[in-house]
C-alpha cells in the first residue's frame, strides 16, 4: 500500500522528513517520550517529532553515560553528539524515569539547540493537587514556546492542534481494532511503522494518510487464520524485526501497551474543555507509563482488560534492558496474569544488539505452549 510506504520512508530518514517540514514552514522540536504535549508544540507553529536512537555504535555518549544506562537514552545522546540531530530547533524532556532525567541535564549542559525545555510533570497522576500542578506545568511550557516563537498561542491554535492529533489517534485506534478483528490484514511491522511514522511526519499529512490507510483496510477482511493472538507489553519497541518474528512464529499482534504503540495514541483529548486542562486530562486518563503512579493496580488492570477485550492467547513482555520502571512492574504483572490463567513470556532487548535469532526461538516455543 503506497500510503504505508510513506510512513516507512519518513521513519527511515528523519532528517529529510524534518527538512521537508521545515521548508513548509515548521521547525522541529524533538521530544523524548509519549508524555510530551504535541498539541502545544504544534499550536506554537513547530513540528513535534519523537526522537529514537538511530542505533549507531555508542562512541561519543560513552563520555557521558555509563554502560548500565539503557540503549535508548545512550543512543539518542549519541545521535545528538554526532550531529545527526542538527536539524532540531530544540527539544523538550517530559519527566519520566531517572535516566531521562539525567539525559535532560547532560543535554541542556551541552546546549546544542536553540530551544530547550524540561516538562517536570508530576509522578502521581491520581490526585487533585497533581492535576492542578500538571496544568500549570503545561501552561509554563506554552509560555516558553511563545517566547521561542515570538507569537501568542491562542485557544483556537490549541483547539486546531488538538483536532489534528485526535484525528491521528482515531485513525490509529480504528486500524488497531480492525487489525485485532482481522489479523493479517496488515503486517505487524507495517502497523508499528504507521504509529512511529505518525510521531515523525507532519501531523496533517499523517492524519490524511492514516485516513486513507484506514479506508483501504476496511475494504479487506482476510479470513480468520490460526495465528495465536498476542498482546505486547513493555516500553519502547523500535525493532521491526521483532514484529516479523512474532508473525513468522505463528503469532498475531492484537494489541499492546507500548510507548511506541497504543500508549502513545491511547485516549482522545476532550475537545469540549479548555485546551490545556483537556490535554492534562488525557495524560491522566490514558494508559500509564510505569514511571508514573496511577494507583497500585492500574497497569495490571489495563493489561488484563486488553487480553480479555482482544481475546488474546498470551502476553509477550518486551523488556528494554536497564529500563527500571518496567523491570519493577514485571514480576507483579506476570503474577496477575498467572492468577488469571493467562500465559506470558518475557524477552529482554537492547537497541544495540540484534537478538532476533534468540527471540524467534523463544517465540516459537511460546507459541507451541499456547
Amino acid at each position: 500500500m503506497k500510503e504505508i510506504d510513506r510512513f516507512h520512508a519518513a521513519v527511515n530518514d528523519t532528517p529529510a522528513t524534518a527538512l521537508h517540514i521545515h521548508r513548509a514552514g515548521r521547525k522541529t522540536i524533538g521530544y523524548l517520550c509519549s508524555y510530551a504535549p504535541e498539541e502545544i508544540i504544534y499550536a506554537a507553529g513547530f513540528h513535534p517529532m519523537r526522537l529514537f536512537s538511530s542505533r549507531h555504535e555508542i562512541i561519543l555518549a560513552e563520555n557521558h553515560l555509563q554502560s548500565y544506562c539503557c540503549s535508548l537514552v545512550r543512543g539518542i545522546l549519541e545521535d545528538s553528539l554526532a550531529g545527526r540531530l542538527d536539524f532540531l530547533e530544540g527539544t523538550v524532556f517530559p519527566h519520566t524515569c531517572d535516566s531521562m532525567q539525567r539525559l535532560s541535564d547532560i543535554w541542556r549542559m551541552n546546549g546544542k539547540y536553540r530551544f530547550f525545555a524540561d516538562l517536570v510533570l508530576p509522578a502521581k497522576l491520581n490526585t487533585k493537587s497533581a492535576a492542578i500542578y500538571m496544568e500549570k506545568v503545561l501552561t509554563r511550557f506554552k509560555e516558553d514556546l511563545e517566547t521561542a516563537s515570538g507569537k501568542k498561542i491562542t485557544d483556537t491554535d490549541l483547539s486546531e492542534a488538538i483536532a489534528v492529533c485526535n484525528r491521528i489517534r482515531r485513525h490509529l485506534f480504528f486500524i488497531y481494532e480492525w487489525h485485532s478483528q482481522h489479523p493479517g490484514v496488515i503486517r505487524g511491522a507495517d502497523l508499528y511503522a504507521l504509529v512511529k511514522g505518525a510521531m515523525i511526519m507532519d501531523k496533517k499529512e499523517a492524519a490524511d494518510l492514516l485516513a486513507g490507510v484506514a479506508g483501504r483496510l476496511e475494504q479487506s477482511a482476510p479470513p480468520a487464520g490460526r495465528a495465536k493472538r498476542l498482546i505486547l507489553s513493555g516500553s519502547v519497541c523500535d525493532t521491526p524485526d521483532i514484529f516479523d518474528a512474532v508473525e513468522k512464529a505463528g503469532g498475531a499482534i492484537v494489541g499492546d501497551d507500548l510507548c511506541t504503540g497504543r500508549r502513545w495514541f491511547d485516549s482522545l483529548v476532550p475537545e469540549d474543555a479548555p485546551p490545556l486542562s483537556a490535554i492534562a486530562q488525557r495524560f491522566r486518563n490514558r494508559m500509564t507509563c510505569p514511571a508514573k503512579h496511577a494507583g497500585l493496580t492500574a497497569r495490571a488492570d489495563t493489561l488484563v482488560s486488553l487480553v480479555r477485550k482482544h481475546q488474546a492467547d498470551g502476553v509477550v513482555f518486551l523488556m528494554l534492558k536497564f529500563c527500571d520502571p518496567h523491570a519493577f512492574d514485571y514480576p507483579y504483572l506476570k503474577q496477575v496474569l498467572d492468577e488469571q490463567g493467562i500465559k506470558s513470556m518475557a524477552f529482554e532487548m537492547d537497541d544495540q544488539q540484534s537478538s532476533q535469532g534468540q527471540f524467534s526461538t523463544r517465540m516459537e516455543t511460546f507459541i507451541h505452549m499456547l
Binding site: T127, D324, K334
Partner: protein
C-alpha cells in the same frame, strides 16, 4: 602485667551510636506489642511529622545498608532475581523486597509497616519499590511527589509540594485517628533543624588537617540523622561527637596516621568493602575526608525556617542534592573540594543508583577543568558484591594515588 593500650585513633562515640541504633531497632521491632504504628519511609522523606505523631519511622534504605555491611547482599539480591526482579535493579530495593518475603538479613527482616511514605526526591526507583511493598503488605501508600528542580524551584513546584505536605498530615491523621499536635510539630521541627546543623558541624570538622575522622566514619554516624532526626537523642549524640572531634583536633589525633593526601568521595558507599577501601587509601597516607552522600542530610538546611517548619519543609525536601540539575551538583562538589582542600576525587559509579551516577562523567570533566585535581571512577554497586572486582579496583587506586603523589602539592 600491663594493661592493654588504648587505641587512640578509635572514635569512642561509636559504641554509643551502636547502642542508640540497637535501641531504635528493638523499639521498632516491638512496636506492635506497644500499640505503636510503624511507617516505612524513604531516606529523603520528611520524617518529622511521623515523629511528632508518635509513629515509628523505619528506613528500608538503612536496612539495605546494614545488609550490605553484613555482606548478606548477594544472597538476598539473588533471591529477588528468583522472584523475577532484574539484576539491573537497585540492590537496596532488591534486598528489601526479598527480605520482606524470606525475613532474612542481619535483624531477620524489618517490622511490618502500617503505612508507607514514599518521597521521590532521591529517585524514581523508590516509587516503584514502595508500590511493590504496598501491594505485598496491603497497606496505604502516601507519595510525596517532589518534582526535580533541574534549573530552579518554580512557583508551581512550591505550591504543589506545599499542598502535599498538608495532604501528608491529613493522611497521618487518618492513619492514627489523632490530630497533629502543632506545638509538638514545632518542637520536633526545631530539633530536626538543630540536628541538621550539628551534623553539618560534625562533617565540617574534617576540614582540619589532619582530619579527625573520615568519610567512612561519616557513613557510619549518618544512620542517626537519617533515622531519628527530630528527636532529642540525635541532638545530644552529635554534640558529644563534635566534642570528641574537637578534642581529637586539639590532641592532634588523626584517623589516618600520616595523613598526606585528602580525597573527596562521590555517591553511596560500597557497603561490603568499607574496611578494605579505607585501608587501601590509608596505605597511601590518603584520607577520604568528605563525601557528597552524607552531606545530603544537611545540604538543604538553608531552606528551613525552624519557626515555620511545615511551610519550609516543602522547599527543603524538594531541593536536596539529588533532586537538582547535574550542573548544580557539580557546583556543590566544587564548593566541597575547596572547603575540604582535597587533592583528588573518587567517584563510585554505582550500578544501583542511576540518578546519582548518570551525570558523574560530566561532573568529572567540570571538576578536572576547574580544579585540575585527578579523578578516579570506581565501578561497583552499593550492596551487590557481584559487580565489584577487588583486584581491578586495587590496581586503579594504586595508579590514581601515584598520579596524586607525582603532582606538586
Amino acid at each position: 602485667m600491663s594493661e592493654k593500650p588504648v587505641d587512640k585513633t578509635k572514635i569512642r562515640s561509636a559504641k554509643k551510636m551502636r547502642d542508640l541504633m540497637t535501641t531504635y531497632y528493638l523499639d521498632a521491632l516491638s512496636a506492635g506489642q506497644n500499640n505503636k504504628q510503624v511507617a516505612w519511609i524513604t531516606s529523603g522523606g520528611p520524617v518529622e511529622p511521623l515523629v511528632a505523631m508518635d509513629i515509628i519511622p523505619v528506613y528500608p534504605e538503612n536496612h539495605g545498608a546494614m545488609i550490605g555491611s553484613a555482606k548478606m547482599g548477594e544472597d538476598l539480591c539473588a533471591k529477588a532475581e528468583d522472584m523475577g526482579y532484574s539484576s539491573d535493579l537497585c540492590s537496596y530495593a532488591r534486598t528489601d523486597i526479598a527480605c520482606a518475603v524470606v525475613k532474612g538479613g542481619p535483624i531477620g527482616g524489618l517490622p511490618k509497616p502500617d503505612m508507607l511514605i514514599c518521597c521521590n526526591n532521591i529517585c524514581g526507583t523508590v516509587l516503584k519499590w514502595y508500590e511493590v511493598q504496598a501491594r505485598f503488605y496491603n497497606v496505604p501508600l502516601f507519595i510525596l511527589d517532589t518534582p526535580v528542580c533541574h534549573t530552579g524551584y518554580a512557583p508551581e513546584i512550591a505550591e504543589y509540594v506545599r499542598t502535599q505536605v498538608d495532604e501528608y498530615i491529613v493522611f497521618l491523621e487518618n492513619m492514627t485517628k489523632r490530630k497533629l499536635d502543632h506545638d509538638k510539630m514545632t518542637q520536633v521541627g526545631k530539633l530536626s533543624f538543630e540536628a541538621q546543623h550539628l551534623w553539618q558541624k560534625v562533617l565540617n570538622t574534617t576540614a582540619h588537617k589532619p582530619s579527625p575522622m573520615s568519610a567512612f566514619d561519616a557513613f557510619f554516624f549518618l544512620a542517626l540523622i537519617v533515622t531519628l532526626r527530630g528527636t532529642p537523642a540525635v541532638v545530644d549524640f552529635y554534640k558529644e561527637l563534635i566534642a570528641e572531634m574537637e578534642q581529637r583536633i586539639t590532641e592532634g589525633i588523626s584517623v589516618v596516621p600520616n595523613e598526606k593526601y585528602r580525597l573527596l568521595w562521590d555517591n553511596l558507599p560500597v557497603w561490603y568493602r568499607l574496611k578494605w577501601l579505607s585501608a587501601s587509601f590509608s596505605a597511601h597516607n590518603a584520607c577520604l575526608v568528605a563525601d557528597t552522600y552524607t552531606s545530603a542530610w544537611c545540604g538543604a538546611i538553608k531552606y528551613i525556617d525552624e519557626n515555620n517548619f511545615l511551610d519550609s519543609l516543602a522547599q527543603a525536601y524538594t531541593r536536596i542534592y539529588l533532586n537538582i540539575g547535574v550542573d548544580q551538583m557539580a557546583e556543590e562538589m566544587l564548593d566541597m573540594i575547596r572547603f575540604y582542600d582535597v587533592d583528588g576525587l573518587v567517584m563510585h559509579s554505582n550500578r544501583s543508583c542511576k540518578p546519582y551516577s548518570f551525570g558523574q562523567m560530566d561532573i568529572m570533566n567540570i571538576v578536572r577543568k576547574q580544579t585540575g585535581i585527578p579523578v578516579l571512577m570506581i565501578e561497583a554497586d552499593m550492596v551487590d558484591p557481584r559487580s565489584f572486582s577487588q583486584s581491578q579496583v586495587e590496581t586503579r587506586i594504586d595508579a590514581f594515588m601515584e598520579i596524586i603523589k607525582q603532582r606538586e602539592k
